[in-house]
């Protein structure tokens, strides 16, 4: 680092690499295998070809070149952060280099005896090469479906599919003809089926997998855009319509409030759903009941529910009785606010429906009010519960229901 050379190029280079002269970036533009030679060449200012020749020569000296290459690769930096434009598509050269390396390794393995025997080995090699060709072809033909649909670019993928398939079939049949003598009858048929299936899976597996991925992506995008369209349609049908109605009814505050309340309730349930949107539960049933009364009678029904439970015959009776009591309050009490409170304990459901309206004398009206007699008392008492009505003129009314569970 302590270089005193004053030539511009040197100073520049040193300030560019302040960390260590051992670290260098693999070349992205000049790469046959991984760009190590290109990177070193750039670092030392020599042609990458010379570096490559040195590596190959060293490889014959007890594999020193191979080890040196691996060490250099592990010391090198990822080229990804250098934004150099790609000079050419390296796929072809890289593939050839990779293929030659594999072939070399196979020859070495065969020479030292780590070998399945030519009978298995060579067909396997041919079939693998075929699979690799298919794989590469479909990968370079990204967005294969679209390419084919738009009528351009699909051919290289199809070509490599054909060549690769041919190689695989060739390898498999070679294997079968070679082994036909040693296997007989059923075994050889089964083996043929198994090998063919395996070969097909190897050839088409990655391609099918990528295809499926593309389809999933596409479906997700479609769902997303459909959701957006749904949202717009819903807002248009509900909120915008209500806003228009509110403008038209600007003279009548009561009508406006009722429109706004209905819209609020609808939007809220559409956006969030009820805490338990499961219709088979008490909580949801009570909210639904309150909503329908608010809508029908232009009143506010303040509901408070403590606990929640499954609906059964008894709880349904409680909800129905509450509905009747709240409807009575909405119609007769003269106020526009009704409170409903329901508490669900382990062995008991308690419900209160209350208003602060006119009130009445419960004893005097017992026969005149079919609603109270049939819908509330009858329904609750048939199911084993009790009803208590507290009211007096001018003091509102409270209906209390208890029902054992």
């Amino acid at each position: 680092m302590a270089t005193t050379k004053t030539r511009d190029g040197w100073v520049h280079q040193i300030t560019d690499r302040p960390l260590s002269s051992l670290r260098f970036a693999r070349s992205q533009t000049d790469a046959l295998i991984s760009g190590v030679a290109g990177g070193l060449g750039e670092l030392w200012g020599v042609d990458a070809v010379l570096v490559r020749i040195a590596f190959v020569l060293l490889a014959y000296c007890g594999a020193v070149g191979v080890i040196a290459y691996i060490v250099a690769w592990s010391l090198s930096l990822d080229p990804g952060d250098r934004r150099a434009p790609k000079a050419r598509d390296p796929v072809m050269q890289q593939s050839i280099a990779f293929g030659l390396i594999v072939l070399g390794s196979v020859v070495v393995l065969r020479a030292i005896g780590l070998w399945l025997g030519d009978q298995f080995g060579i067909p396997l090699l041919i079939a693998s090469a075929g699979a690799a060709v298919v794989n590469m072809g479909t990968r370079s033909g990204k967005r294969l479906r679209f390419a084919r649909m738009s009528g351009k670019g699909g051919r290289p993928a199809l070509g490599s599919l054909f060549i690769g398939g041919l190689l695989v079939v060739g390898g498999v049949s070679w294997f079968l003809t070679k082994t036909n003598g040693s296997f007989t009858g059923l075994v050889s048929v089964l083996l043929a089926v198994a090998v063919t299936t395996g070969g097909l899976a190897v050839v088409f597996g990655p391609w099918v997998f990528r295809m499926a991925n593309q389809l999933t992506d596409e479906r997700r995008n479609r769902i997303r855009s459909e959701e957006r369209a749904d949202l717009a349609a819903h807002l248009h049908d509900s909120v915008l319509q209500t806003l228009a109605l509110i403008q038209r009814n600007a003279g009548s505050p009561r009508k406006m409030a009722s429109l706004a309340r209905r819209q609020e309730r609808e939007l809220r349930s559409w956006l969030y759903g009820h805490p338990s949107s499961d219709a088979a539960r008490l909580d949801a049933a009570v909210h639904q009941m309150a909503d329908s009364i608010e809508e029908a009678h232009d009143v506010t029904v303040e509901t408070v529910i403590v606990g929640d439970c499954e609906l059964d015959e008894r709880t349904r009776a409680v909800v129905a009785a509450c509905r009747e009591a709240a409807t009575n309050a909405a119609i007769h009490s003269g106020t526009n606010e009704v409170s409903v409170y329901i508490e669900c304990e382990r062995h008991l459901i308690t419900a209160f429906v209350r208003d602060r309206g006119n009130g009445f004398d419960p004893s005097a009206n017992a026969n005149g009010r079919r609603g109270i007699v049939d819908s509330i008392k009858g329904r609750i008492e048939r199911n084993g519960g009790t009803v208590m009505i507290t009211s007096a003129h001018g003091e509102g009314c409270e209906v209390q229901l208890t029902m054992p569970r």
Partner: protein, 210 residues
């Protein structure tokens, strides 16, 4: 008149509350985001802050905590359109002294502000319901019996509030004074803020609020 500060990120709603409360309380200022709110509250020193539960980015809680650091005597009343228990409980646990829904009528709102200013708690029927839910059921070994359980009387008071009774009506019904009702509700508020009962912490941790 009570000095009140408004915090709500909906300007339309701010305007509505302002016109509603005009002349009934002393409105000292308003803000619609967290930073301005904290800064203005510190500057104007109101007695009560009316705070929207749904400030963007969980801001309500941030405001309460920031103000409490420098001005612990400023009181907060939460105001919301939301029915979601966890949001409301979170603000109460952060230090708000009450909760009302935005549909509350003016008179009731003024009463709630005064009650909170007097150092008491204000529970709407809905909040009373949430609290009963949170403290429902027996727990086998309360970690701290003082705050992990409601007394029978406190439950009675909360049930009546949940049924729509005003404090005055609760007092009449139970033959106690309004002051005693307030004491019970304040005790419940304290338990709500201090208890580590399963349901309370569950709500909070589900929403990553603790």
């Amino acid at each position: 008149m009570t000095r009140v500060f408004l915090v709500d990120d909906h300007r339309l709603f701010l305007a509505g509350v302002r016109s509603e409360l005009q002349g009934k309380v002393d409105l000292v200022g308003e803000a619609s985001d967290v930073d301005t709110a904290v800064q203005q509250i510190r500057a104007t020193k109101p007695e009560v802050v009316l705070l929207d539960v749904h400030m963007p980015g969980g801001g309500g809680k941030a405001i309460i905590e920031a103000v409490a650091e420098t001005h612990p005597d400023v009181k907060f009343l939460a105001l919301s359109v939301s029915d979601a228990a966890e949001d409301v409980i979170a603000l109460i646990r952060a230090g708000a002294r009450g909760y009302v829904t935005k549909t509350i009528d003016t008179e009731e709102l003024v009463r709630a502000i005064e009650r909170v200013n007097a150092g008491d708690a204000f529970f709407s029927p809905r909040l009373a319901g949430f609290v009963l839910d949170a403290f429902a059921g027996e727990i086998e070994v309360p970690a701290d019996p003082e705050v992990d359980q409601l007394t029978v009387r406190e439950k009675e008071v909360l049930r009546l509030i949940a049924r729509g009774y005003t404090y005055k009506e609760v007092a009449k019904r139970l033959n106690i004074s309004v002051k005693t009702v307030e004491t019970h509700v304040s005790a419940v508020l304290r338990k709500l803020q201090l208890s580590n009962r399963h349901q309370l912490t569950q709500w909070a941790s589900d929403r990553r609020l603790v």
